[in-house]
Symmetry: C2
Subunit: 278 residues, 2 copies
Protein backbone atom coordinates (compact mmCIF):
# COMPACT_ATOMS: atom_id res chain seq x y z
CA UNK A 1 0.00 0.00 0.00
CA UNK A 2 1.51 3.32 -1.11
CA UNK A 3 1.45 6.01 1.62
CA UNK A 4 1.66 9.46 0.05
CA UNK A 5 1.62 12.95 1.55
CA UNK A 6 2.80 15.03 -1.44
CA UNK A 7 0.64 15.94 -4.42
CA UNK A 8 3.50 15.70 -6.91
CA UNK A 9 4.42 12.21 -5.74
CA UNK A 10 0.81 11.06 -5.95
CA UNK A 11 0.34 12.46 -9.44
CA UNK A 12 3.46 10.67 -10.64
CA UNK A 13 2.27 7.31 -9.30
CA UNK A 14 -1.25 7.75 -10.70
CA UNK A 15 0.08 8.70 -14.13
CA UNK A 16 2.01 5.47 -14.38
CA UNK A 17 -1.12 3.43 -13.72
CA UNK A 18 -3.32 5.55 -15.98
CA UNK A 19 -0.86 5.19 -18.83
CA UNK A 20 -1.39 1.43 -18.65
CA UNK A 21 -5.16 1.98 -18.80
CA UNK A 22 -5.70 0.96 -15.16
CA UNK A 23 -9.11 2.11 -13.84
CA UNK A 24 -8.65 4.31 -10.77
CA UNK A 25 -11.21 4.23 -7.94
CA UNK A 26 -11.34 6.83 -5.20
CA UNK A 27 -12.87 7.15 -1.73
CA UNK A 28 -12.31 10.51 -0.04
CA UNK A 29 -12.59 10.41 3.77
CA UNK A 30 -11.81 12.49 6.84
CA UNK A 31 -10.35 9.43 8.54
CA UNK A 32 -11.40 7.85 11.85
CA UNK A 33 -12.73 5.09 9.67
CA UNK A 34 -15.65 2.83 10.47
CA UNK A 35 -17.57 0.14 8.60
CA UNK A 36 -19.40 2.84 6.63
CA UNK A 37 -16.15 4.01 5.06
CA UNK A 38 -14.97 0.46 4.52
CA UNK A 39 -18.17 -0.38 2.68
CA UNK A 40 -17.34 2.45 0.25
CA UNK A 41 -13.84 1.08 -0.18
CA UNK A 42 -15.31 -2.31 -1.05
CA UNK A 43 -17.53 -0.73 -3.70
CA UNK A 44 -14.48 1.04 -5.13
CA UNK A 45 -12.55 -2.24 -5.15
CA UNK A 46 -15.33 -3.85 -7.20
CA UNK A 47 -15.62 -0.99 -9.69
CA UNK A 48 -11.93 -0.23 -10.29
CA UNK A 49 -8.47 -1.73 -10.44
CA UNK A 50 -6.46 0.68 -8.29
CA UNK A 51 -8.13 2.14 -5.20
CA UNK A 52 -7.02 5.41 -3.65
CA UNK A 53 -8.36 6.49 -0.25
CA UNK A 54 -7.69 10.00 1.00
CA UNK A 55 -7.64 10.90 4.68
CA UNK A 56 -7.93 14.64 5.18
CA UNK A 57 -9.85 16.55 7.82
CA UNK A 58 -10.80 19.40 5.52
CA UNK A 59 -10.83 22.72 7.38
CA UNK A 60 -12.85 24.61 4.74
CA UNK A 61 -15.94 22.51 5.39
CA UNK A 62 -16.03 23.35 9.11
CA UNK A 63 -17.69 26.52 10.37
CA UNK A 64 -15.91 28.84 12.83
CA UNK A 65 -17.77 27.37 15.84
CA UNK A 66 -17.64 23.76 14.71
CA UNK A 67 -15.56 20.76 15.77
CA UNK A 68 -12.52 21.02 13.48
CA UNK A 69 -10.05 20.86 16.38
CA UNK A 70 -11.83 18.05 18.22
CA UNK A 71 -12.64 16.01 15.13
CA UNK A 72 -11.35 12.52 15.97
CA UNK A 73 -8.20 11.30 14.27
CA UNK A 74 -6.60 7.83 14.31
CA UNK A 75 -4.23 7.55 11.37
CA UNK A 76 -2.44 4.41 12.47
CA UNK A 77 -5.63 2.45 12.98
CA UNK A 78 -7.06 3.84 9.72
CA UNK A 79 -4.02 2.66 7.78
CA UNK A 80 -4.23 -0.81 9.26
CA UNK A 81 -7.94 -1.03 8.34
CA UNK A 82 -7.21 0.11 4.78
CA UNK A 83 -4.33 -2.33 4.45
CA UNK A 84 -6.73 -5.09 5.42
CA UNK A 85 -9.10 -3.96 2.62
CA UNK A 86 -6.20 -4.21 0.18
CA UNK A 87 -6.33 -0.50 -0.70
CA UNK A 88 -3.59 0.43 -3.17
CA UNK A 89 -2.76 3.98 -2.08
CA UNK A 90 -3.56 6.24 0.86
CA UNK A 91 -3.19 9.98 0.36
CA UNK A 92 -3.02 11.95 3.62
CA UNK A 93 -1.81 15.47 2.83
CA UNK A 94 -1.20 18.25 5.34
CA UNK A 95 -3.49 21.29 5.49
CA UNK A 96 -0.64 23.44 4.12
CA UNK A 97 -0.29 21.11 1.14
CA UNK A 98 -3.97 21.39 0.28
CA UNK A 99 -4.41 25.06 1.21
CA UNK A 100 -1.20 27.11 0.87
CA UNK A 101 -1.23 30.52 2.57
CA UNK A 102 -2.48 32.46 -0.46
CA UNK A 103 -5.29 30.03 -1.31
CA UNK A 104 -8.26 31.79 -2.95
CA UNK A 105 -10.40 29.52 -5.15
CA UNK A 106 -13.72 27.86 -4.24
CA UNK A 107 -16.59 25.97 -5.85
CA UNK A 108 -20.11 27.27 -5.26
CA UNK A 109 -23.15 25.13 -6.06
CA UNK A 110 -26.17 27.41 -5.96
CA UNK A 111 -29.42 26.54 -4.14
CA UNK A 112 -28.59 22.92 -3.28
CA UNK A 113 -26.00 23.99 -0.70
CA UNK A 114 -28.26 26.53 0.98
CA UNK A 115 -30.99 24.19 2.27
CA UNK A 116 -31.03 21.43 4.94
CA UNK A 117 -27.49 21.18 6.38
CA UNK A 118 -26.59 24.36 4.47
CA UNK A 119 -28.76 26.47 6.77
CA UNK A 120 -26.92 25.72 10.01
CA UNK A 121 -23.62 25.16 8.14
CA UNK A 122 -23.59 27.98 5.56
CA UNK A 123 -20.10 27.45 4.10
CA UNK A 124 -19.99 23.67 4.62
CA UNK A 125 -20.77 22.53 1.08
CA UNK A 126 -18.52 25.15 -0.46
CA UNK A 127 -15.70 23.52 1.50
CA UNK A 128 -16.81 20.01 0.51
CA UNK A 129 -17.08 20.70 -3.21
CA UNK A 130 -13.79 22.60 -3.20
CA UNK A 131 -11.79 19.85 -1.55
CA UNK A 132 -13.48 17.13 -3.59
CA UNK A 133 -12.71 18.96 -6.84
CA UNK A 134 -9.09 19.38 -5.75
CA UNK A 135 -8.84 15.70 -4.81
CA UNK A 136 -10.40 14.69 -8.14
CA UNK A 137 -7.79 16.76 -9.98
CA UNK A 138 -5.00 15.24 -7.91
CA UNK A 139 -6.14 11.60 -8.02
CA UNK A 140 -7.81 11.71 -11.48
CA UNK A 141 -10.14 8.85 -10.60
CA UNK A 142 -12.40 7.13 -13.12
CA UNK A 143 -14.91 6.37 -10.36
CA UNK A 144 -15.46 7.75 -6.86
CA UNK A 145 -17.68 6.54 -4.03
CA UNK A 146 -19.58 8.66 -1.48
CA UNK A 147 -21.82 7.55 1.36
CA UNK A 148 -25.56 8.09 1.24
CA UNK A 149 -25.61 9.14 4.89
CA UNK A 150 -24.52 12.55 3.58
CA UNK A 151 -27.25 12.46 0.98
CA UNK A 152 -27.20 16.19 0.35
CA UNK A 153 -23.45 16.01 -0.19
CA UNK A 154 -23.92 13.21 -2.72
CA UNK A 155 -26.51 15.26 -4.64
CA UNK A 156 -24.24 18.31 -4.64
CA UNK A 157 -21.18 16.33 -5.76
CA UNK A 158 -23.23 14.81 -8.57
CA UNK A 159 -24.35 18.28 -9.60
CA UNK A 160 -20.76 19.57 -9.60
CA UNK A 161 -19.58 16.60 -11.65
CA UNK A 162 -22.30 17.21 -14.23
CA UNK A 163 -21.99 21.01 -14.34
CA UNK A 164 -18.18 21.04 -14.51
CA UNK A 165 -18.09 18.16 -17.04
CA UNK A 166 -15.79 16.18 -14.78
CA UNK A 167 -14.44 12.88 -16.06
CA UNK A 168 -15.44 10.77 -13.08
CA UNK A 169 -18.42 8.55 -12.37
CA UNK A 170 -19.96 8.84 -8.91
CA UNK A 171 -21.38 5.91 -6.94
CA UNK A 172 -23.34 6.12 -3.69
CA UNK A 173 -22.89 3.61 -0.89
CA UNK A 174 -25.85 2.82 1.37
CA UNK A 175 -25.89 3.84 5.03
CA UNK A 176 -24.17 1.35 7.31
CA UNK A 177 -25.70 1.13 10.78
CA UNK A 178 -24.80 -0.14 14.23
CA UNK A 179 -26.71 -3.19 15.46
CA UNK A 180 -29.40 -1.02 17.06
CA UNK A 181 -29.81 1.05 13.89
CA UNK A 182 -27.78 4.19 14.63
CA UNK A 183 -26.07 5.31 11.42
CA UNK A 184 -22.30 4.88 11.71
CA UNK A 185 -20.46 8.17 12.02
CA UNK A 186 -17.03 9.23 13.23
CA UNK A 187 -18.90 11.73 15.41
CA UNK A 188 -20.73 8.98 17.37
CA UNK A 189 -17.61 8.86 19.57
CA UNK A 190 -18.68 12.22 21.03
CA UNK A 191 -21.88 10.72 22.53
CA UNK A 192 -22.04 9.76 26.19
CA UNK A 193 -23.78 6.51 27.12
CA UNK A 194 -27.15 8.12 27.66
CA UNK A 195 -26.97 10.07 24.39
CA UNK A 196 -25.79 6.99 22.54
CA UNK A 197 -28.85 5.08 23.75
CA UNK A 198 -31.20 7.96 22.91
CA UNK A 199 -29.72 8.59 19.46
CA UNK A 200 -31.19 5.36 18.14
CA UNK A 201 -34.49 7.24 17.99
CA UNK A 202 -33.28 8.80 14.73
CA UNK A 203 -33.29 5.44 13.03
CA UNK A 204 -36.51 4.43 14.76
CA UNK A 205 -38.28 7.60 13.64
CA UNK A 206 -37.18 7.10 10.02
CA UNK A 207 -38.38 3.50 10.17
CA UNK A 208 -41.64 4.74 11.64
CA UNK A 209 -42.20 7.19 8.79
CA UNK A 210 -41.38 4.53 6.24
CA UNK A 211 -44.00 2.19 7.65
CA UNK A 212 -46.55 4.95 8.18
CA UNK A 213 -46.08 5.94 4.53
CA UNK A 214 -46.60 2.32 3.45
CA UNK A 215 -49.80 2.32 5.48
CA UNK A 216 -51.15 5.43 3.81
CA UNK A 217 -49.72 8.50 5.60
CA UNK A 218 -48.92 10.99 2.82
CA UNK A 219 -49.23 14.29 4.66
CA UNK A 220 -45.68 15.56 5.17
CA UNK A 221 -46.33 17.96 8.02
CA UNK A 222 -48.31 15.40 10.00
CA UNK A 223 -45.60 12.79 9.52
CA UNK A 224 -42.82 15.16 10.50
CA UNK A 225 -44.72 16.47 13.50
CA UNK A 226 -44.99 12.90 14.72
CA UNK A 227 -41.30 12.10 14.48
CA UNK A 228 -40.37 15.47 15.96
CA UNK A 229 -42.28 14.40 19.05
CA UNK A 230 -40.55 11.01 19.11
CA UNK A 231 -37.11 12.59 18.86
CA UNK A 232 -37.76 15.41 21.33
CA UNK A 233 -39.00 12.89 23.90
CA UNK A 234 -35.58 11.23 23.78
CA UNK A 235 -33.77 14.54 24.31
CA UNK A 236 -32.83 15.23 20.67
CA UNK A 237 -32.66 18.95 19.78
CA UNK A 238 -33.86 19.18 16.21
CA UNK A 239 -31.82 21.16 13.67
CA UNK A 240 -34.11 20.12 10.83
CA UNK A 241 -36.37 17.28 9.75
CA UNK A 242 -37.56 17.59 6.18
CA UNK A 243 -39.16 15.63 3.39
CA UNK A 244 -37.73 16.73 0.04
CA UNK A 245 -37.45 15.73 -3.58
CA UNK A 246 -34.34 13.57 -3.69
CA UNK A 247 -32.93 15.32 -6.75
CA UNK A 248 -33.82 18.99 -6.29
CA UNK A 249 -33.90 18.90 -2.44
CA UNK A 250 -37.07 21.00 -2.56
CA UNK A 251 -39.65 20.41 0.19
CA UNK A 252 -42.63 18.26 -0.74
CA UNK A 253 -46.07 18.59 0.85
CA UNK A 254 -47.10 15.06 -0.06
CA UNK A 255 -44.91 12.04 0.66
CA UNK A 256 -44.24 9.95 -2.45
CA UNK A 257 -42.18 6.93 -3.38
CA UNK A 258 -38.67 8.35 -3.76
CA UNK A 259 -39.14 11.20 -1.28
CA UNK A 260 -36.03 11.79 0.83
CA UNK A 261 -36.75 12.21 4.54
CA UNK A 262 -33.65 13.70 6.08
CA UNK A 263 -32.78 15.08 9.48
CA UNK A 264 -30.10 16.64 11.63
CA UNK A 265 -30.47 16.44 15.37
CA UNK A 266 -28.26 17.42 18.30
CA UNK A 267 -27.69 15.12 21.25
CA UNK A 268 -25.83 17.39 23.62
CA UNK A 269 -23.31 19.20 21.44
CA UNK A 270 -23.14 16.38 18.92
CA UNK A 271 -24.95 16.93 15.65
CA UNK A 272 -26.01 13.69 13.95
CA UNK A 273 -27.56 13.26 10.51
CA UNK A 274 -29.58 10.43 9.03
CA UNK A 275 -32.02 9.89 6.19
CA UNK A 276 -34.22 7.46 4.36
CA UNK A 277 -35.62 7.35 0.84
CA UNK A 278 -39.29 6.30 0.89
CA UNK B 1 -9.83 19.97 -38.97
CA UNK B 2 -12.44 18.34 -36.74
CA UNK B 3 -15.54 20.51 -36.17
CA UNK B 4 -17.30 19.48 -32.98
CA UNK B 5 -20.39 20.82 -31.21
CA UNK B 6 -21.09 17.99 -28.74
CA UNK B 7 -19.14 17.41 -25.53
CA UNK B 8 -19.40 13.62 -25.77
CA UNK B 9 -18.05 13.58 -29.30
CA UNK B 10 -15.15 15.85 -28.34
CA UNK B 11 -14.23 13.75 -25.30
CA UNK B 12 -14.16 10.62 -27.44
CA UNK B 13 -11.80 12.17 -30.00
CA UNK B 14 -9.52 13.63 -27.34
CA UNK B 15 -9.32 10.30 -25.49
CA UNK B 16 -8.03 8.57 -28.60
CA UNK B 17 -5.20 11.07 -28.95
CA UNK B 18 -4.40 11.11 -25.23
CA UNK B 19 -4.19 7.32 -25.18
CA UNK B 20 -1.40 7.56 -27.73
CA UNK B 21 0.40 10.10 -25.51
CA UNK B 22 -0.28 13.03 -27.86
CA UNK B 23 0.19 16.41 -26.12
CA UNK B 24 -3.01 18.46 -26.32
CA UNK B 25 -2.85 22.26 -26.65
CA UNK B 26 -5.86 24.51 -26.12
CA UNK B 27 -6.85 28.09 -26.95
CA UNK B 28 -10.27 29.15 -25.66
CA UNK B 29 -11.81 32.08 -27.56
CA UNK B 30 -15.11 33.89 -28.00
CA UNK B 31 -14.60 33.91 -31.76
CA UNK B 32 -14.47 36.92 -34.13
CA UNK B 33 -10.83 36.07 -34.37
CA UNK B 34 -8.00 38.51 -35.04
CA UNK B 35 -4.21 38.32 -35.12
CA UNK B 36 -4.16 38.34 -31.32
CA UNK B 37 -6.04 35.04 -31.17
CA UNK B 38 -3.98 33.60 -34.00
CA UNK B 39 -0.75 34.43 -32.18
CA UNK B 40 -2.05 32.30 -29.28
CA UNK B 41 -2.84 29.46 -31.67
CA UNK B 42 0.72 29.64 -32.97
CA UNK B 43 2.08 29.36 -29.44
CA UNK B 44 -0.16 26.34 -28.86
CA UNK B 45 1.06 24.77 -32.11
CA UNK B 46 4.65 25.11 -30.92
CA UNK B 47 4.00 23.70 -27.44
CA UNK B 48 1.72 20.78 -28.32
CA UNK B 49 0.91 18.16 -30.94
CA UNK B 50 -2.87 18.50 -31.23
CA UNK B 51 -4.38 21.97 -31.00
CA UNK B 52 -7.98 22.54 -29.94
CA UNK B 53 -9.57 26.00 -30.30
CA UNK B 54 -12.95 26.68 -28.72
CA UNK B 55 -15.31 29.34 -29.99
CA UNK B 56 -17.96 30.16 -27.42
CA UNK B 57 -19.45 33.52 -26.50
CA UNK B 58 -19.82 32.71 -22.82
CA UNK B 59 -22.97 34.30 -21.38
CA UNK B 60 -21.93 33.91 -17.72
CA UNK B 61 -19.07 36.38 -18.12
CA UNK B 62 -21.33 39.18 -19.38
CA UNK B 63 -23.19 41.44 -16.96
CA UNK B 64 -26.91 42.14 -17.39
CA UNK B 65 -26.29 45.50 -19.13
CA UNK B 66 -23.35 44.34 -21.20
CA UNK B 67 -22.92 43.48 -24.89
CA UNK B 68 -23.72 39.74 -24.95
CA UNK B 69 -26.32 40.11 -27.70
CA UNK B 70 -24.25 42.48 -29.85
CA UNK B 71 -20.96 40.67 -29.34
CA UNK B 72 -19.64 40.16 -32.89
CA UNK B 73 -19.75 36.66 -34.37
CA UNK B 74 -18.25 35.35 -37.63
CA UNK B 75 -18.01 31.58 -37.41
CA UNK B 76 -17.35 30.92 -41.08
CA UNK B 77 -14.47 33.35 -41.26
CA UNK B 78 -13.12 32.09 -37.93
CA UNK B 79 -13.08 28.51 -39.19
CA UNK B 80 -11.25 29.49 -42.34
CA UNK B 81 -8.63 31.38 -40.32
CA UNK B 82 -8.15 28.40 -38.01
CA UNK B 83 -7.90 26.02 -40.93
CA UNK B 84 -5.12 28.17 -42.30
CA UNK B 85 -3.29 27.87 -38.96
CA UNK B 86 -3.59 24.09 -39.22
CA UNK B 87 -5.65 23.80 -36.05
CA UNK B 88 -6.67 20.20 -35.37
CA UNK B 89 -10.07 20.63 -33.78
CA UNK B 90 -12.57 23.46 -33.28
CA UNK B 91 -15.12 23.10 -30.50
CA UNK B 92 -18.10 25.46 -30.83
CA UNK B 93 -20.83 24.29 -28.45
CA UNK B 94 -24.26 25.87 -28.03
CA UNK B 95 -25.15 27.75 -24.86
CA UNK B 96 -27.58 24.95 -23.92
CA UNK B 97 -24.79 22.41 -24.23
CA UNK B 98 -22.53 24.34 -21.88
CA UNK B 99 -25.26 25.55 -19.51
CA UNK B 100 -28.28 23.24 -19.37
CA UNK B 101 -31.41 24.71 -17.77
CA UNK B 102 -30.64 23.52 -14.24
CA UNK B 103 -27.02 24.68 -14.23
CA UNK B 104 -25.81 25.67 -10.74
CA UNK B 105 -22.05 25.42 -10.26
CA UNK B 106 -19.49 28.26 -10.35
CA UNK B 107 -15.85 28.95 -9.55
CA UNK B 108 -15.08 31.90 -7.28
CA UNK B 109 -11.55 33.28 -6.99
CA UNK B 110 -11.49 35.59 -4.00
CA UNK B 111 -9.94 39.07 -4.02
CA UNK B 112 -8.31 38.90 -7.48
CA UNK B 113 -11.68 39.04 -9.23
CA UNK B 114 -12.96 41.99 -7.19
CA UNK B 115 -10.44 44.65 -8.29
CA UNK B 116 -9.77 46.40 -11.63
CA UNK B 117 -12.23 44.97 -14.20
CA UNK B 118 -14.02 43.19 -11.34
CA UNK B 119 -15.35 46.50 -10.00
CA UNK B 120 -17.37 47.50 -13.06
CA UNK B 121 -17.93 43.84 -14.03
CA UNK B 122 -18.69 42.15 -10.69
CA UNK B 123 -19.57 38.66 -11.95
CA UNK B 124 -17.28 38.69 -15.00
CA UNK B 125 -14.40 36.62 -13.64
CA UNK B 126 -16.73 34.12 -12.01
CA UNK B 127 -18.08 33.48 -15.50
CA UNK B 128 -14.59 33.29 -17.00
CA UNK B 129 -13.18 30.84 -14.46
CA UNK B 130 -16.31 28.71 -14.63
CA UNK B 131 -16.28 28.33 -18.41
CA UNK B 132 -12.52 27.84 -18.53
CA UNK B 133 -12.71 25.09 -15.90
CA UNK B 134 -15.51 23.41 -17.84
CA UNK B 135 -13.53 23.66 -21.08
CA UNK B 136 -10.43 22.27 -19.38
CA UNK B 137 -12.44 19.28 -18.16
CA UNK B 138 -13.90 18.75 -21.61
CA UNK B 139 -10.70 19.20 -23.64
CA UNK B 140 -8.24 17.88 -21.02
CA UNK B 141 -5.39 19.93 -22.44
CA UNK B 142 -1.78 19.56 -21.33
CA UNK B 143 -1.17 23.23 -22.13
CA UNK B 144 -3.43 26.22 -22.68
CA UNK B 145 -2.68 29.72 -23.96
CA UNK B 146 -4.28 33.00 -22.86
CA UNK B 147 -3.62 36.53 -24.08
CA UNK B 148 -1.85 39.07 -21.88
CA UNK B 149 -4.27 41.80 -22.97
CA UNK B 150 -6.61 40.33 -20.37
CA UNK B 151 -3.82 40.35 -17.81
CA UNK B 152 -6.13 40.10 -14.82
CA UNK B 153 -7.82 37.11 -16.43
CA UNK B 154 -4.45 35.43 -16.94
CA UNK B 155 -3.54 35.96 -13.26
CA UNK B 156 -6.90 34.60 -12.13
CA UNK B 157 -6.71 31.55 -14.40
CA UNK B 158 -3.22 30.84 -13.10
CA UNK B 159 -4.51 31.10 -9.55
CA UNK B 160 -7.39 28.71 -10.28
CA UNK B 161 -5.03 26.21 -11.92
CA UNK B 162 -2.74 26.28 -8.89
CA UNK B 163 -5.49 26.23 -6.25
CA UNK B 164 -7.52 23.48 -7.90
CA UNK B 165 -4.41 21.40 -8.72
CA UNK B 166 -5.37 21.30 -12.40
CA UNK B 167 -3.24 19.23 -14.73
CA UNK B 168 -2.62 21.93 -17.32
CA UNK B 169 0.23 24.35 -17.91
CA UNK B 170 -0.75 27.93 -18.74
CA UNK B 171 1.14 30.14 -21.20
CA UNK B 172 0.58 33.85 -21.80
CA UNK B 173 0.74 35.39 -25.26
CA UNK B 174 1.87 39.00 -25.61
CA UNK B 175 -0.51 41.73 -26.74
CA UNK B 176 -0.81 42.02 -30.53
CA UNK B 177 -1.40 45.57 -31.76
CA UNK B 178 -2.66 47.35 -34.85
CA UNK B 179 -0.04 49.34 -36.78
CA UNK B 180 -0.81 52.49 -34.79
CA UNK B 181 -0.54 50.64 -31.49
CA UNK B 182 -4.18 49.98 -30.56
CA UNK B 183 -4.41 46.56 -28.90
CA UNK B 184 -6.32 44.15 -31.12
CA UNK B 185 -9.76 43.30 -29.77
CA UNK B 186 -12.96 41.88 -31.22
CA UNK B 187 -14.67 44.91 -29.67
CA UNK B 188 -12.68 47.40 -31.79
CA UNK B 189 -15.34 46.81 -34.46
CA UNK B 190 -17.76 48.84 -32.30
CA UNK B 191 -15.65 52.01 -32.65
CA UNK B 192 -16.60 54.71 -35.16
CA UNK B 193 -13.80 56.34 -37.16
CA UNK B 194 -13.30 59.17 -34.71
CA UNK B 195 -13.25 56.84 -31.71
CA UNK B 196 -10.90 54.49 -33.54
CA UNK B 197 -8.43 57.35 -34.09
CA UNK B 198 -8.75 58.55 -30.50
CA UNK B 199 -8.42 55.09 -28.97
CA UNK B 200 -4.75 54.93 -29.93
CA UNK B 201 -4.14 57.24 -26.96
CA UNK B 202 -4.38 54.14 -24.71
CA UNK B 203 -1.25 52.71 -26.26
CA UNK B 204 0.42 56.11 -26.37
CA UNK B 205 -0.26 56.72 -22.70
CA UNK B 206 1.16 53.34 -21.71
CA UNK B 207 4.25 54.04 -23.81
CA UNK B 208 4.52 57.43 -22.15
CA UNK B 209 4.44 55.94 -18.66
CA UNK B 210 7.03 53.34 -19.64
CA UNK B 211 9.42 56.02 -20.84
CA UNK B 212 8.69 58.35 -17.94
CA UNK B 213 9.43 55.46 -15.56
CA UNK B 214 12.73 54.79 -17.36
CA UNK B 215 13.54 58.48 -16.93
CA UNK B 216 12.93 58.40 -13.19
CA UNK B 217 9.19 58.93 -12.58
CA UNK B 218 8.33 56.56 -9.72
CA UNK B 219 5.35 58.30 -8.14
CA UNK B 220 2.28 56.29 -9.14
CA UNK B 221 -0.34 58.96 -8.58
CA UNK B 222 1.61 61.58 -10.52
CA UNK B 223 2.12 59.20 -13.42
CA UNK B 224 -1.51 58.12 -13.51
CA UNK B 225 -2.75 61.69 -13.23
CA UNK B 226 -0.71 62.52 -16.29
CA UNK B 227 -2.09 59.74 -18.48
CA UNK B 228 -5.63 60.38 -17.24
CA UNK B 229 -5.27 63.85 -18.70
CA UNK B 230 -3.91 62.48 -21.99
CA UNK B 231 -6.80 60.04 -22.33
CA UNK B 232 -9.54 62.45 -21.27
CA UNK B 233 -8.29 64.98 -23.81
CA UNK B 234 -9.03 62.42 -26.54
CA UNK B 235 -12.55 61.79 -25.27
CA UNK B 236 -11.85 58.57 -23.35
CA UNK B 237 -14.08 58.04 -20.28
CA UNK B 238 -11.91 56.32 -17.73
CA UNK B 239 -13.23 53.21 -15.95
CA UNK B 240 -9.91 52.68 -14.15
CA UNK B 241 -6.21 53.27 -14.59
CA UNK B 242 -4.08 51.55 -11.98
CA UNK B 243 -0.54 50.51 -11.22
CA UNK B 244 -0.53 47.19 -9.38
CA UNK B 245 1.69 44.33 -8.36
CA UNK B 246 1.52 41.96 -11.31
CA UNK B 247 0.95 38.89 -9.12
CA UNK B 248 -1.30 40.11 -6.30
CA UNK B 249 -3.00 42.90 -8.32
CA UNK B 250 -2.64 45.15 -5.26
CA UNK B 251 -2.09 48.85 -5.90
CA UNK B 252 1.48 50.10 -5.58
CA UNK B 253 2.42 53.64 -4.55
CA UNK B 254 5.84 53.46 -6.15
CA UNK B 255 6.38 52.27 -9.72
CA UNK B 256 8.89 49.44 -9.95
CA UNK B 257 10.28 47.14 -12.60
CA UNK B 258 7.54 44.52 -13.02
CA UNK B 259 4.69 46.84 -12.02
CA UNK B 260 1.57 46.26 -14.13
CA UNK B 261 -0.05 49.44 -15.41
CA UNK B 262 -3.52 48.52 -16.55
CA UNK B 263 -6.54 50.46 -17.73
CA UNK B 264 -10.10 50.24 -18.95
CA UNK B 265 -11.51 53.19 -20.86
CA UNK B 266 -14.77 53.84 -22.68
CA UNK B 267 -14.88 55.40 -26.11
CA UNK B 268 -18.58 55.97 -26.56
CA UNK B 269 -20.20 52.79 -25.30
CA UNK B 270 -17.18 50.67 -26.14
CA UNK B 271 -15.04 49.60 -23.22
CA UNK B 272 -11.42 48.90 -24.17
CA UNK B 273 -8.65 47.48 -21.99
CA UNK B 274 -4.89 47.61 -22.33
CA UNK B 275 -1.84 47.21 -20.12
CA UNK B 276 1.90 47.25 -19.90
CA UNK B 277 4.40 45.68 -17.52
CA UNK B 278 7.15 48.15 -16.59
Amino acid sequence: MHLVREIGVLKKIIRQYKKKGVIIGFVPTMGYLHEGHLSLVRIAKKKSQFVVVSIFVNPTQFGPREDLQEYPRALKKDLSLLRREDVDLVFYPTVKTMYPTDYKTYVEVQDLGKVLCGISRPSHFRGVTTVVLKLFNIVEPDIAVFGEKDYQQLIIINRMVKDFNLNVKIFGGMIIREKDGLAMSSRNIYLNQRQRRDAVVLYQSLQWIKHAFKNGLFNTSKAIEEIEKMISKRGGKIDYIEAVDKNTLKSVEILKKGTLVTLAVYFGKTRLIDNIVL
